[in-house]
Structures are given as C-alpha cells and as structure tokens.
C-alpha cells in the first residue's frame, strides 16, 4: 500500500512529464483534429503519396545505414576500450566521444574538403592515376551514411562501454573456465553486448531520421525536408504538422522493436561489475583494436577539427568570435545548463516510477514523441500551446520556453538511460528497505539516488551537449533578444566570414567539451563511491 505522499510525487512527476512532452503532442493532436475536419470538407488534402513514401524510404535507408555503420564502428571501439582494454585506453576514452560534439553539418563540410569533387583526396587520386580511377562520390546515400555515422558512432561506443561495465562478470568467468578466453570473448561477451550496441544504434537512428542538414548538403532528398516545405514554401502549419506524423510512426516502430528485443535481455546487465583488470585477449588483437580506435580518432576528430582550425586562421578570428558572440555563448550555457538539470531531475523521478506496471512504455512513448515531431513542428506546437495571455505568457516570453523546447526534444534519452540504470539495481535492496520499514522517499534518496548517480551525471552531460546544440525548435521560440550560439553560427554561415564561423564552431566544440568533461569528472567521482556498493550485493537469478 503506497502512501499519499508517494502518489503526490507520482502526480508531480507525471504532470511535469505532461508539461514537457505531452503538451506539444496534445496541441498537435488538437490542430490535426481541426485539419481533419477541413479534410472532410475537402479543403485540405494532406495525403501521403508515392513521392512522400519514396522520401520517407530514403530517410529510413540513410538513418538505418548510419545506425548500422555506427553500430559497427561504435561497437568495435567500445569493445576495444572496455573488453579488450587496448593500450592507451585512458586517452582514447577522452578522444573517441569528441565527434559527437562536432555538429554533423560541420562534419559534412569537412568531408567535402577531403572527398568532394575537388577535395584533397580527389585531387591526389587524379594526379597519381591521371583520371583513370575515381574515388566514390560523397554525394550519394553512402556518403550521407558515412558522414552521419562518423558524427554519431560515439553514442554506440558509450553505450557499449557502459553495457560492458554492467555485464554480469560471472558469465564471462564461467565461460573462461569452461571454454577458454577466446570462446568467452566470441561466444559470451560479444553476443551479450549486442543489446547495448542496439540501444546505441536506436539512438543514432532516431537522431538521423529527423535530421536533414547532412543529407541536404550531400544532395540527398529526405522526408524532413517535406515538413519544412509545408512550412516554408506553403506556409501551411496544418499540413506541416500532418507531415510530422509518418516520422512519429517510423520512430515508434523502431522503438517498439527495440523494446521487444530488449525485453528478455535486460537481465544480462545486472550491474555485477567486474573489477577493472587486464584483458585476457591476445596482444596482437589488442594492438589491432587500438589501431582501429586511432584510425577512428583520426578520421572523425582530427580531420574535421584540422579543417576547422585551418579555416579559422588567422588566430585573431578567435578574438573576433568572442567579441561577436560572448552574449549568445552565455545565453546558450544558461539554457543548456537549466535544461540539463531539468532533464536529469525529471528522468530520475520518471525512472523511479517506471517500476510501476505499464509506466515504462507510457513514459517512453510520451517522451519520445516530441523528438520525432521534427524541430519546426515542435516549435510551432510550443507557440500554439504557450503563447497565450495570463500565466502562460510568463513562460513564453522568457527563456523558459527554450528550456521547455530543449527538454521536450531530449528528455527521452535521459529517461531511457536512468530507467536502464535503475532497472539494473537489485530489487532485494528495495525489498529489504521496505521490510525494515524505511519509507519510499528514504529508499529513493538513500538507495536509488546514490546508486544511479553516475548515470544521472552522464545524463546531465549528454543533455548539456544536445541542448547546447539545439537549433531547429529553438529558433522558433527563442524570446527576442536572447539569441543562442548555434543560431548565431548558422546565421553567420550564410555570408559571414568563413574564418569567424570556423572559430565560433571550434568555440562550440570547446564549450561542449568543457560541459562533457565536467560530467565525466563528476561521473568518475560518483562511480568511485558506487562501485563498492554494487559489488557487495547479492547475485541475481541467471539468464532469461
């Protein structure tokens, strides 16, 4: 029997989730009901024709390809770091996530300098082979997949590393004893990491399927442009919102498939963490894996950053960048910090209550939907919902509305991460506390909070990075006079001096790196406190 206070806090968490994620959804649903009525009258025809189906298929193809390639690259590097424990692992742990901090659009521009029609590689190949051999075109679905995967593979690397840390070490130990280290690696550890790799792959898919900057730059027609067309070419808000529905469907199907896949496999990640030690893998394998990681660092981090650094010369550009955009930088840091705090706090509450039956699929669906709506549709929904006289104007007329937009877009990732971390905890901890008469809120603050603190810190860092780079929805709702840094950069991209844009882009990477570094340092501190407590807990039942 739960106490009244329990249900009050549950109501608070549900209401907060509703305000952040549910309000835009309901607003859109309300608009669509109106549009539906017009459809019946025959005045609006937001049909789904063959052309749109082809665009959606292309989006799914590129996003799916990017997810698969990210799983290959991220999974391999994650295994190299955490399972094989390659040489220079400490440095690689810092370097491999950096591509995620570089906006995909900037990644694409950098790759055009290399693989473009007149890029460095194209010219070199042309010189050496006198035009007899042509390098593969970057302006193709494969090119879009390559660039997107290079921007997002760190997500899979991180989920793989975290998954490997959470794998129950007894399975590996039993396999090593029975069949030896090689079989343990290929027959036990790698298959058991598949769910963690698929989780990262799902995140990459969701981010890619709603994005259009990279495909557009590489001249690939994708579905999100269709939504933009309704807004920008026809000024038809209703049709634009209708256009967002198929993306909701695609993302929903992908997430449902992931849930079904994960249902019987969550128990593998019991969090019975293995003490850090040397890998049992052979030295040649570890060196080969390290080489792969360094090649990845070179192609995904060094290359684009070198292009940016070259473009930002002379160094005085950095002084100009600071003079030009320090106010926007402060605004962005404030918004991203608040949004990251809100996402982390709300994700924690939702994760606690996700232990209730049916709560997890409900919270997942509600928090995922705003991400899949696409930025412009979410922005319009927020305007329609919050731009009203009275108390709502206090939200709409302040940066609170940008915080809401950022939270709405990225709450799903926070919730999914903290819910996964909380599910790994041994239920016996809570059962023992309940039997001892410890009230629910003391269990939450005394057991769940400290044991999920590393995950919460990680969620804060991830949310900070995502919210700092938010543009699509933010540009529609940012209060006048409060421009954010990404909006400023995209503005300058139009015909600002290229050295200034490059310097500002590097500045963005540095700020995001600082935010992520803060989170990583806090994570290291938190995990140090948590690890001993995880080790002493009782064993859980076996697989399946």
């Amino acid at each position: 029997m739960k106490s009244t206070s329990y249900w009050l806090v549950f109501a608070f968490a549900s209401a907060a989730c509703f305000i952040v994620s549910g309000v835009p959804l309901i607003t859109i649903a309300w608009q669509l009901i109106g549009e539906g009525a017009k459809l019946i009258e025959g005045t609006v025809v937001p049909g789904f024709d063959e052309r749109q189906a082809a665009l959606l298929a292309n989006s799914v193809r590129i996003a799916g390809g990017a997810a698969v390639l990210s799983m290959v690259l991220g999974g391999a590097s994650g295994v190299a770091l955490q399972v094989l424990r390659v040489p220079s692992r400490g440095l690689l742990l810092w370097l491999l996530p950096i591509p995620f901090l570089i906006p995909p659009y900037i990644q694409a521009l950098a790759w055009m300098e290399i693989l473009g029609k007149s890029g460095l590689l194209a010219r070199a190949v042309d010189t050496v082979f006198a035009g007899q051999i042509a390098i593969p075109s970057l302006y193709s679905p494969a090119g879009a997949i390559w660039v997107t995967a290079l921007a997002y593979f760190p997500i899979v690397a991180v989920t793989t590393v975290l998954g490997a840390r959470g794998l129950d070490a007894r399975y590996e130990e039993a396999a090593v004893l029975a069949r030896g280290p090689r079989a343990a690696l290929y027959r036990i550890q790698l298959p058991m990491l598949a769910p963690a790799i698929f989780t990262g792959g799902l995140i990459v898919f969701l981010l890619s399927v709603v994005g259009f900057s990279v495909p557009s730059l590489l001249q690939q027609s994708v579905y999100p442009v269709e939504i933009h067309t309704q807004f920008a070419a026809f000024y038809d808000i209703g049709a634009g919102l209708w256009g967002a529905v198929p993306l909701l469907g695609v993302g929903g199907i992908a997430t449902l498939a992931w849930h079904l896949y994960m249902r019987r496999r969550r128990g593998w990640y019991s969090g019975h963490a293995k003490p850090a030690g040397d890998s049992r893998a052979t030295r040649p394998l570890r060196i080969a894996a390290a080489a792969l990681c360094w090649v990845l660092v070179g192609t995904s981090t060094v290359l684009p950053l070198a292009v940016l650094a070259f473009r930002s010369l002379p160094l005085s550009s950095f002084a100009r960048a600071w003079d030009t955009a320090h106010e926007e930088l402060l605004t962005s840091v404030i918004i991203a910090s608040i949004a990251a705090c809100v996402i982390t706090g709300l994700a924690f509450l939702l994760a606690y209550f996700s232990r209730l039956r049916l709560a997890t699929p409900f919270f997942s669906a509600v928090t995922l939907s705003p991400l899949l709506l696409s930025g412009p549709a979410l922005g319009i929904a927020l305007i329609l919902a919050w731009n009203h006289a009275g108390w709502r104007s206090a939200v709409y007329d302040s940066i609170a509305i940008v915080v809401l937009a950022s939270c709405a877009r990225y709450l799903f990732f926070g919730f999914a991460a903290v819910a996964t971390a909380s599910r790994r905890l041994d239920p016996a901890l809570f059962e023992a506390a309940s039997v001892s008469g410890i009230p629910w809120h003391r269990q939450m603050s005394g057991i769940l909070l400290p044991l999920t603190l590393p995950a919460l810190v990680g969620v804060w860092g991830l949310s900070f990075v995502l919210c700092f780079g938010e543009v699509d929805a933010a540009v529609l709702v940012t209060p006048p006079g409060a421009t954010t840094l990404p909006v400023r950069i995209f503005g300058l991209l139009h015909y600002g001096p290229s050295s200034l844009v490059a310097a500002l882009s590097l500045l963005v990477v540095l700020i995001e790196l600082a935010g992520a570094g803060l989170a990583v340092a806090a994570y290291a501190l938190a995990i140090r406190n948590v690890r001993p407590r995880l080790r002493i807990r009782h064993a859980r039942p076996s697989l399946g």
Binding site: R51, Y105, L109, M112, G116, K117, S118, S216, L217, Q219, V225, H228, T229, F231, A232, A233, F234, Y235, G240, T331, I334, I335, S337, I338, C341, T344, G345, P376, I383, N387, A389, D397, S398, I399, A400, S445, G446, L449, P450, L453, V471, D472, V475, L476, T478, P479, P480, G481, T483, V487, F490, G491, L492, L493, H494, Y495, G496, P497, S499, N529
Partner: protein, 340 residues
C-alpha cells in the same frame, strides 16, 4: 552516504538563478523586431537606432538552416497574441504572404516617399529598401568565359558542373516564381526540366552554392549578390555576373529588403519609429557599405563603387505581387516534378 535530496536543492537553486538571469527585463521603451536579414548586418543598424532613440530593440533573427521556416511561421502561429512589432525581411515574397494572411498593419511612413513606387506596397502594408540581385557566381580557376544568361546553364558544357539552391526555399524560390511569372508556365517548366536533364546540383542554400563554387566543387551557380561578394572578400577565386544584361535580355531579379508593421504588436508606436529609421538613407548607405553590398533604392543615396548602380541594372519586368501569386503553384511544380 553523502548524496541526499541536497543535490536536488542545488540543482533547483542553480536552475532558479539561471532562470532569474534569463527572465530579467530592463525597464524603458522597447520594440520587438523579427529580422530575417543576417544578424551580422542588421545588428549594427539596430544598435544605432537604440543609441539614437533610447528605445531598446529586442531582435529575433532567422537562420538560413531553418529554411526560412522560422520567423514567418512564428508570426503566423503567434497571430492570436503577436509578440513582434516589426518584421524586417530580407526579401519580399514572404512579406506579401503575411499581408495576405492578414497579420500586417498598413503604415504610411514619412520615409516611404524616397523609395520608388515599384518597391513598395500600394496599400502601404510594406515598403522595400536596400536590394540584392540574383547573380551567376563562377570559379575563376575553372571558368574563363562565364555565361551571360541563366538559359546558358542548359548548355552541354555545364552538364553536372552547375549548382543552385533548393528552389523550394528562400530567394531561389522567389526567382523560380518570377521566371514562371515572366516566361509563362510552359517555358518555365521546360527551363527547369532542362536544368534537371543537364544534371544541375540542388544544394541547401545560396551560401552553400557560393562555398562549393569557391572550392571548385562546381564551376558555377546561381546565388545572390551578397553571397557572391562574401566569397570575393574572403579571397576565394570567384567572380560574379548579373545575368541577361545585354540588349533584349530578361534582366535579373532584384530582391529588396522589406519592412512591415505587425498587426496587434505590443509596441506599435516604437515599431513605427523603427520603420521610419530603417527606410532612411543612412540605413541604405550602411547596408551598401557592408559585406553584403546591398543596392540602395533611394536615388539620393550614393553607394560605394563596388555596389551595382540601380539605374544601370536591367531588372526583370515583373511586379512583386505577380511573383507572390506564382509562389504556391511554382512550389508544387518544383516539389513534384523538378525535385522528384
């Protein structure tokens, strides 16, 4: 365990402090301007207005990456409770669309008199100033004799070597609609079909066209004077040509900035003062002297030599309302046939 609810108190306090900073307002008169001209050029002008009048300008800028979905749709979505006083657009088609949507208010600014009739709304809902023009940009290392007309893009020598921005968005969409208005449906369709057959690349925006021509990815492309000038000033090997300027040619499309008062905005009087200022000769001179080399419409403004002179430019013989009327049908063709 050292971790308790205190951590949430710290988070909440942090959020409250940041929120307070973010929500802090300054007292005094203000005007809210939605500005689609790039901040790089518009902000100094708004700062100068602030300094002269003491009216604080709270500006919201659009970005090309948002495919111009930003401010126009925001004004439409906010129509129940408008937050903007003034819409400063860097072209005219969207402003006319807003006029048709009934979200603008007529204003007969005293500064309108100096602007030629063809560049302002006869119903006084909007007024144009400081124009850009469509140009052919070419890479000087790849092209020795640039084409003189956009029809030349259909020639075999440019197959797979030319680029335009997506004609569904921005000034390229306006240019496409203008061609439909001037040439008629059949000719314009044939032109775009020919472009497609000649392997023209469709890029996300005019700035991308400039960048990729500058890098030699494409030999030439269509863009605006301001984009092209940015490439020249940044030292890239690019040149620009105003299309169809020779005798009997079609001429190029001029794209004036437009400014309009938003109906029901919170500070209408300050909005009117801002419009009066923007339509003055000093603003046109400032925009002409900037990197964007915008062409003054007020004949009294003496622009720097690098700026094309309005009187010497052969412009397309079409009025802005006709172009605006063509926008939707052109977009349907572009979306369903040209970009298919």
């Amino acid at each position: 365990m050292g971790y308790r609810w205190e951590i949430f108190v710290v988070f909440t306090a942090l959020a409250a402090v940041f929120m307070a900073i973010g929500c802090a307002r300054e007292d005094g008169p203000e005007v809210v301007a939605y500005v689609s001209l790039d901040e790089l050029y518009s902000r100094p002008i708004l700062d100068e207005f602030e300094a002269r009048t003491g009216i604080r300008v709270r500006a919201q800028y659009d970005i090309e990456a948002a495919k111009t979905t930003g401010l126009v749709n925001r004004i439409l979505a906010e129509r129940g409770r408008p937050r903007a006083d003034v819409f400063w657009n860097n072209e005219f088609a969207q402003t006319i669309a807003l006029k048709k949507a009934g979200v603008l208010e007529a204003y007969d600014s005293p500064s309108r008199g100096a602007i030629p009739d063809g560049f302002k709304d006869s119903d006084m809902y909007w007024t144009g100033f400081a124009a850009r023009a469509r140009v052919i940009i070419y890479n000087t290392e790849l092209v020795s004799e640039p084409p003189g007309s956009i029809r030349d893009l259909l020639r075999a020598e440019w197959k797979g070597r030319a680029a335009i921005a997506n004609p569904l968005f921005g000034t390229t969409a306006t240019h496409a609609a203008a061609l439909f208005a001037v040439w008629g449906d059949e000719d314009a369709r044939a032109f775009f079909t020919g472009l497609r057959a000649n392997g023209i690349a469709v890029l996300p925006g005019n700035a991308t066209v400039r960048d990729l021509v500058a890098r030699g990815e494409y030999a030439l492309g269509l863009t605006d004077t301001d984009d092209a000038n940015g490439g020249v000033l940044d030292g890239f090997p690019v040149g620009r040509v105003l299309p169809a300027q020779e005798g009997g040619g079609l001429g190029t499309l001029l794209l004036p900035n437009t400014v309009a008062l938003v109906r029901g905005g919170p500070n209408p009087e300050a909005g009117r003062r801002l419009i009066d200022y923007l339509l003055g000769p000093e603003v046109e001179l400032a925009l002409a002297s900037s990197r964007s080399i915008q062409i003054p419409l007020n004949p009294a403004v003496e622009a720097p030599e690098s700026v094309p002179e309005l009187a010497k430019i052969r412009t397309m013989n079409v009025d802005f309302d006709s172009i605006s009327e063509q926008m939707s049908s052109t977009a349907v063709f572009i979306r369903e046939e040209f970009l298919r």
